[in-house]
């Protein structure tokens, strides 16, 4: 049992980008101390899961990249939005028009994309051209009952030392143009966190989420009943320390400092 803020913590759920690594070419670069910190978490006997809004690659590629960076990680412990999205599409008999990154398309290979009746938008990066966004817009305007899914709603993240736009701003653009409110798949949706908790088989108050996104990681986890911890890496910006809406349960300089504190408090 581990104590954190008067909770008995049985599971740690980690964000990937901005916590384990920074994004960049060839899978990015590890954040200092994070490989060792992760190994110490494995040795502690705590349950570990990875909850990411990464949609620019397939889950398989993401895990391969992390391994080649030196991380120990198994594919079945990683929860990105696309597999969850595919389950929803199948359950609700929806056929998507996709505005997503080309490298993520293989994860949609089992999904019928003919005669579309919804739009799915992910972090499409360079595919976010006027004409591509316009096609998604025209689809929504032509549907009898427009449905828009967004794979997360992050505002931006850090890559090669610079902020770059995430899917959220483009989701907002489509919402404004069409008057449709997007359904979020991925963090911070309740259903997404619950999927991870169910996989571990514990209740929310026994888990802590560690992320660099004050709203989607920390706020999302807290709304779901988990403890929410912010790390000052990745997209973290100084104003996040005093966010108007979200108060993290704890803030650490990086993952290593969080693990130091958590394992030190071992009872």
């Amino acid at each position: 049992m581990f104590a954190l803020l008067n909770r008995n913590i049985k599971a740690v759920i980690l964000d990937i980008t901005g916590v384990l690594k920074d994004s960049g070419p060839h899978g990015g670069t590890p954040i200092k101390g994070s490989i060792e910190a992760l190994n110490r978490l494995y040795s502690s006997g705590l349950h570990l899961r990875f909850c990411t809004n990464e949609t620019t690659v397939t889950r398989h590629t993401l895990v391969s990249q992390l391994r080649s960076l030196g991380f120990t990680i198994d594919e079945e412990k990683v929860f990105p939005p696309i597999p969850a999205m595919c389950t929803i599409l199948k359950d609700r008999n929806l056929r998507p028009h996709l505005l997503v990154h080309p490298d993520a398309l293989p994860d949609f290979k089992d999904i019928d994309q003919s005669n579309t009746n919804c739009v799915v938008i992910g972090d499409a990066t360079h595919q976010f051209t006027y004409e591509n966004i316009n096609r998604a817009f025209q689809c929504l305007m032509n549907f009898e009952k427009p449905i828009l899914f967004s794979l997360g709603k992050g505002k931006y993240y850090q890559e090669d030392g610079e902020l770059i736009l995430d899917v959220g701003p483009f989701m907002k653009a489509l919402e404004y143009a069409t008057g449709v409110t997007a359904e979020i798949v991925g963090k911070p949706s309740l259903a997404f966190f619950n999927t991870v908790l169910n996989d571990i088989g514990i209740s929310a108050h026994e888990a802590v989420m560690v992320g660099d996104d004050i709203v989607n990681d920390v706020g999302g986890a807290q709304a779901c009943g988990l403890a929410g911890v912010l790390v000052r890496t990745g997209k973290y910006r100084k104003p996040d320390d005093n966010h108007p809406d979200v108060k993290p349960d704890a803030i650490f300089d990086n993952l290593e400092k969080f693990v130091d504190c958590l394992l030190q408090d071992k009872q």
Binding site: T125, H126, Q127, F128, T129, Y130, E131, I133, N134, F137, Q138, M141, K155, Y156, E162, L163, I164, L165, G168, P169, F170, K172, A173, L174, E175, Y176, A177
Partner: protein, 281 residues
């Protein structure tokens, strides 16, 4: 004729209290009110000429455009057959230029290349503002990222206007509004909107005429951008139904105080002259 008299009665009822001040300026929207593409709306040429014949009335042509420079607008109006001076045109681009000059801004422009004509001489090094119009060629990922970073570093966000979409030959197409909204969300900022319906737009459009907002009539085909905007600064608003509106929509805007709906631009001029015969002349 019956319709025109009804309009007259409507005008009389709604305007009489404040018409102790003579109307000194009429602000006229362009596309949809005075012309549709390259054609004048029914009888608009003669209606405008009759208004222009009254020396006590100043006329301003006010329009939301993000890609047509003043010079372009003037040429189009002249080609259609309207007699217009460049100084009578006040567009959302004019309003943006005014704001940029007043605040000494150095913008990063996300606007159509044709519109840059209205921003000649504006410094653009080391940008401290992002100015957004409708610019499909400029709305790509790199430019949107650059704009977001500038906003995070303290630049101001200025929107020429925030229209959701417009009609294009292949169907509906996104306007500047969605891209402004994207940048607002990414930067936690609110854009300053310089075009209609912003109050500053209407006030700025009459700064070179010596008159009060209450002495102005705005006539346009957009209930929100033209009418509500003008009314927010104390002008009279007259909505023209150049384009047929659904009943529900009409009902909503019938309820706006001081809004007068007429069928098209020529009816305004007819009614206005009737009005003057009875009350002012």
């Amino acid at each position: 004729m019956r319709k025109q008299i009804n309009v007259f009665l409507f005008l009389k009822r709604r305007l009489s209290v404040s018409m102790t001040n003579q109307i000194k300026a009429i602000l006229i929207d362009l596309s949809g009110t005075l012309h549709i593409e390259d054609d004048p709306t029914p009888n608009a040429l003669e209606a405008l000429a009759r208004l222009q014949a009254r020396s006590e009335i100043q006329i301003k042509f006010v329009t939301n455009t993000t890609k047509e420079s003043k010079c372009f607008l003037l040429n189009r109006l002249t080609q259609i057959g309207f007699k217009v001076q460049e100084s009578e045109i006040y567009s959302s681009l004019s309003a943006a230029r005014k704001l940029i000059d007043e605040k000494q801004l150095r913008p990063f422009f996300l606007i159509d290349k044709r519109a840059l004509e209205d921003f000649e001489g504006v410094p653009t090094h080391d940008p401290n503002a992002v100015v957004v119009g409708l610019a499909p060629d400029e709305f790509h990922y790199e430019n949107m990222n650059k704009a977001m970073r500038l906003l995070h570093n303290g630049a101001q966000l200025i929107a020429i206007h925030k229209a959701r979409y417009y009609k294009r030959s292949d169907g509906l197409a996104l306007g500047p509004g969605p891209f402004v909204t994207a940048l607002e969300y990414a930067s936690d900022l609110k854009a300053e909107i310089v075009g209609k319906p912003s109050a500053d737009f209407f006030l700025s459009s009459i700064t070179d005429i010596s008159c009060q907002p209450s002495q102005c009539i705005m006539i346009g085909d957009d209930a929100k951008d033209d009418i509500e905007g003008a009314q927010s600064v104390g002008m009279k608003g007259i909505l023209v139904q150049t384009v047929a509106l659904s009943n529900g929509f009409l009902w909503t805007y019938h309820t706006i105080l001081e809004t007068i709906i007429i069928q098209n631009f020529v009816h305004l001029v007819n009614s206005y002259q009737l009005f003057h015969m009875f009350y002012l002349d």
